[in-house]
Every structure is written in C-alpha cells, then in structure tokens.
C-alpha cells in the first residue's frame, strides 16, 4: 500500500499529513507550554497548519475559496495575536510574570 | 531533463552573479558616501590610498577580514553569529527579484552536442509573478536581523537599538505598503516587468473613456503618483535605518545601537545589508515611478536593439538577433544603474544634510502623518481609476 510511487507522487494527502503534524505540534504547545506567549505561538502554529490544508484543498479542487478562507484566517490570526500580546503585556506589567501556572484564579 | 538542468544551472549562476553584484556595489557606495560627505562638509575625505582614495576600500576589506572575531561572553553565540547573515539575506533576496534589464529571447542553439533553448533570458535572479508582494514580504524580514543582533549581543544599548529598529520597521512598513498600492492599482499588476513595460509608452490619461495623449512625456508613475512616490521614498529611509531615521544606531544615545558589539566582517555584513537595502529601495523607486530601465521615447525594449545595431556591426558581429538584443539589454541595464545611482546619491545626500528625528517625532510621522496620507493616496487613486476608466454608458 505504501509504495515508493505513492510517496513520490506528491498530492493532497501528503500536504494534509504535514498539516496534521504541524497542527498537533501547535496543540501540544498550547496544552503543555507554560509561557503564555509560547501558548499563543502554538495557536498561531495551529492556524497556519490549517491554512496549509486549506491551500492544498484549494489546489486540489481548483477552487479559490480556500485562498479566501486563508486570507480571512490570517487577518483574524493577526488580530488575535495583537490582542493576545496586548493582554500578555498587561499581565506582565501587573504581575511581572507570564507563566500560566500563576494564573489559576478560576479554580472551582 | 536536459532543459531542466540547464535552467537550474543558469538560474543558479544568475543568483550568484546578482548577489555578487550587490555585494560589490557596497564598497563603491562606501567610498561614495565618504567622499560625498567630505564634499558636503567641505573636507577631503579618503584620498591617500590609491587614486582618489579608491584603494582605501581594499585596505578596509583587509582590515575587516583580519580583525579578531569577538563574541560577548554572556551573549547568545548562535544568534550573534546568525544576525549579520539574516541582515544581509533579505536585501539579497529582494534584489534578486528586481528586473535589471529587459528579457532577451535566446534562439535555439547547439552546444556540447545537444540542442538548447529557445530560451527567454531574464536579467534577474528569478521572475516571480507577484514580485512586488515578494519584495515587500522579504524585506519585512529585515527586522529580524536587527532584533537578533540586539538580543544576541546581550547588551542593553544593543537591545534598545534592536527594539527601536523593529518598532520603526513595522511602523513604516504600513505606510510603505500602502503607498505602493497606488502604483499597483495604476498599472494593474504585481509584476515588475509589466510595470516597467507599461511605463515605456507615451503618457496617456484615460479621461471618461477618452484617451488623452500627452506628447513626448513618458508614462512614468511619478506623473500619476507624486504623493505615493514621496511617501515611499520617505518610508524607504526608515526601512533602511538611514538618517534621518537612524534611531536604532543613534550614536549619542545608544553608543552604536544594535551593532554595538560587532566588529570585523560581521559588522561589514550589516553594512552590506544596509547598502543592499538602499540599492533595493532605489531600484524600487526607479521601477515604480521613473520608468525602470527605459527612457521613453529614446530607450525602450523596442528601440534598444536598433540603437546598438551599428555598434554590433562595427564590431563585426553578425546580425544575429540574440547577440544584438543582449547588447541592447546591457544598454538598458546601464540606464537602470544610472537612475539607481542617482537615488543612491540622494540617500547619501540626505544623510549628510538632515538631522535625526526624535523617537516620538518618528512615530508621530509614521502613524499620524504618513499612514493617513498613504491611505488617502490609495483611496484617491482607486476612486479616480474607478471614475475615469468607467465607460459611463459609452
């Protein structure tokens, strides 16, 4: 099943596989890193991974809607990064700390 | 495979050559800068080593190469080493995307017993359909070189310089990008070659469906986009960290800014990066607003081969069109270089004329003056194009 030919004939599945790996990396960063900003970077990585799959799908189907989606995702990701960083800066100014461990005030 | 390998080989060669061109321009520019500043300040400048002090460049190079490599003890060696490289790469990449002359059609020929071509030879490292976006994207990476240098040095002055530089770069990137939008709207393309081609024609306005010819004037962007040109040029100063925007290396405040800890060849690489950026900036100005490698009606891709034809025949070359076009392309290349040099001189001229801004003035100018004006320029251009090019029921 997994022949050299399928490996060499680069198509949509390859890119989706790559995108899945990057996505899981981003998710691990969000789930496991302690630094708030690195968590934000994980979010960016996840978004980018999804973008990659969008572009790959777009190419496969010859449809530009995927590009539009990526365009929107990028814009919103930039906005999200701006807000996230502003919050991080505000937190840092107040507590001198960006370790998520110190922000567990929402305990039940 | 043959033709693939040939193209890869040619492109690789072109990349190397263009990169070397950029690097070799730097010593010359340094000499121009030093002599020019001396001229402006009414002194002599370097004049001892060689004729007109030209050999000074060589002496400097030797000095840079033989200096001790030095890394701050508490710095981050990897970042410290990589920063100068990163500072240089964006300029080189951007310069590679700029067309230095017209594309030449190479006829099919035989070499080493194989058929090659026909082939379109482009005077640039790589042709990218969306050249403008590519150049913008690549040059926006330049901030990292400065940032890494500042951080890697682990020196507070260096860090301050780096932070200033990156803030300045991303602030002025907005105004720069927006001022280019006018040109893109005007010529309706992202491709440098097409922009240049569009400018090698008589100046013509579309006025409510009527075409107005403006005689011998060339169709240069500056006639449509004077505001955009001024804004782009100002933003370029900030992007290259040149005076009056050289806050990142303000000697009075930050010792030497982000390259405080750098010496020897690493320092030289920052120099190459800065001058490379100047080169790219001047080339962009020329391509967007001043006709690129053409001067209509005298020198255009159509007329250049005819102009060089007598020289070719005088040299005894055949009227082989490939050779003549190559010669014509060289002529156009010289035209581009002349224009670029003019702008490079303006860069140097400004540096030795204007004082430095204060940091708040810099931010104020970027965000509250240039950005709104660039926005205004964009909207005005779009509106005018919409109104003028609309056929209005005709």
């Amino acid at each position: 099943m997994l022949s050299i030919e399928t490996l060499l004939h680069v198509g949509l599945p390859h890119y989706i596989f790559l995108s899945g790996i990057l996505f899981s990396f981003g998710m691990i960063a969000v789930l496991m890193r302690r630094n708030v900003i690195v968590m934000l970077m994980g979010v960016e990585l996840m978004l980018n991974a999804v973008n990659l799959s969008f572009i790959a799908f777009s190419k496969e189907s010859g449809n530009l809607n995927g590009h539009i989606m990526v365009f929107f995702v990028m814009t919103i990701a930039a906005a999200e990064a701006g807000v996230g960083l502003a919050l991080a800066v505000a937190i840092y100014k107040k507590f001198h700390e960006v370790n998520i461990r110190f922000f567990e005030h929402l305990r039940g | 495979m043959g033709s693939d390998a040939f193209e890869i080989g040619v492109n690789f060669l072109k990349m190397v050559i263009v990169f070397l061109m950029m690097v070799q321009v730097v010593p010359l520019l340094v000499w121009v800068e030093r002599r020019g500043s001396a001229y402006i300040q009414n002194r002599f400048g370097p004049n001892r080593v060689g004729p007109l002090g030209l050999m000074q460049l060589l002496a400097d190079a030797v000095k840079f190469l033989t200096k001790q490599e030095f890394v701050p003890a508490r710095g981050y060696p990897v970042l410290f080493y990589i920063a100068p490289v990163i500072a240089m790469i964006p300029a080189a990449l951007a310069f590679g995307a700029i067309p230095l002359s017209m594309p030449v059609q190479v006829d099919a020929f035989e070499w080493l017993g194989q058929h090659w071509g026909p082939y379109v030879f482009k005077f640039q490292s790589y042709e990218i359909g969306i050249g403008v976006v590519f150049v913008l994207g690549v040059s926006s990476l330049a901030a990292f070189g400065v940032l890494l240098a500042g951080y890697g040095s682990n020196n507070k002055y260096a860090l301050f310089g780096a932070l200033r530089a990156s803030a300045q770069t991303i602030s002025y990137e907005l105004a720069m990008g927006l001022s280019i939008v006018g040109v893109i709207l005007l010529f309706n393309t992202f491709s440098f070659t097409e922009i240049v081609n569009a400018q090698s024609a008589p100046l013509a306005f579309n006025f409510f469906g009527h075409k107005l010819d403006w005689g011998p004037l060339p169709n240069w962007g500056i006639f449509y986009q004077p505001l955009g040109a001024i804004l782009l040029f100002s933003a370029m100063f900030a992007e290259t960290n040149r005076l009056p925007f050289d806050l990142p290396e303000a000697e009075g405040e930050l010792v030497a800014g982000y390259h405080n800890e750098y010496a020897g060849f690493k320092f030289n690489m920052f120099f190459i990066g800065e001058y490379g950026h100047m080169l790219v900036a001047s080339a962009l100005m020329v391509i967007f607003y001043f006709g690129g490698y053409t001067i209509y009606p005298f020198l255009t891709p159509e007329t250049a081969p005819h102009i060089v034809a007598p020289i070719a025949s005088a040299l005894g070359w055949s009227t082989n069109s490939t050779a003549v076009s190559l010669l014509g392309a060289l002529l156009l290349h010289v035209v581009l270089l002349l224009k670029v040099v003019l702008f490079l001189w303006i860069f140097i001229w400004v540096r030795w004329t204007l004082p430095r801004f204060r940091y708040d003035q810099l931010m104020d100018l970027g965000w509250r003056k240039m950005l709104p004006w660039a926005l205004f320029n964009t909207i005005l251009t779009a509106t005018v194009i919409l109104v003028m090019h609309h056929s209005w029921g005709a």
Binding site: L18, T75, A78, A81, R101 | S140, L159, T169, E173
Partner: protein, 173 residues
Amino acid sequence: MWEAIAFYSLAIFLIYFAFKTITVPNPIHAALYLVLTMIGLGAAFFNLGAQFIAGVQMIVYAGAVMVLFVMVLMLFDLKAELRAFSRGLFSGGLKVMSAALLAGLAIGAANSSVAILENPDSAKPVADVTRQLGILLYTKYLYAFEALGILLLAVAVGVVAVSRIKGGTHAQH
C-alpha cells in the same frame, strides 16, 4: 521528482522547526523557530501555487506578527525557563495523546473526504490566481471582507485600551 524533492525537503524543514518551536526552553528561540516555520509555510504555499497568500504570509506573519512576538518577549527579558512544560506525567501524556489523536482524526477525516472534494469540472489549475482572488474577495466575499475591516478596527481600539492599563512600573502610587 522535483516536486517530491521540494515537498520532502520542505516537510522535513517544517517539522523540524515546528518541533523545535514547541520544545526549546527559551521562548525567544521558540519564536525564532516559529518564524522559520512561517517562512517554510510561505514556501509551501508558493509551492502550491498560492503566490499571493505566500507573500501575505511573509508580510503579515513573518514580518509583522512574529516581529511583535519577538519584541514583546525581548521586552519581558525572560530567561530560558527551567521547566518549559507544565507538570504532571499523566496529564502530559493525555495531552500529547489527545493532540495526536485529534491530528490523526483530522487527517483521516480530510483524507476520507478527498473523494467528495474532487470535482472533475473545476479541477484544473486556475490561471492568474491573484487576480481571481481579488475579484472573488470584492464580489462574493465583499461583506465578509468589510466585516473583517470592522473587526480589525475593533481589535485596534481594544488593544490600545488593554495596553493602556496601568500597572507595574506605570502604577501610580
């Protein structure tokens, strides 16, 4: 073959740098690795024929967002962390597992829907992608585009408001 070479070298590059992004203890190094990942993704986009998106990726992500990240991190002056990851072996394992599961499921779902996606009529490369993209953006997706503009405005205002919060060295005593 060239395609395969390009893809695999790019994939190795991307996976390596993404892995480094999430594992290096120094957040600045993580950010720099992420920049490299972004650039690699831009290359991947370019490879897939999305030149404009690739350019935007460079300008927006690599050039602006990541510069901001690096700047903020430098401002914080954080040293390399002793423990970059959150505690708990079990929860850590669960997290990795769930991420891997999710990624696997997403890949599976995407792959199984490939057949549905394939539309023989339109499955030919689009010429002049950038122009088509622009036309699509300003016709079919015009309202979304405008809404995005308003969102950005709101975000700009919000960010200014958030970053004006007094605290730390700015606190008034």
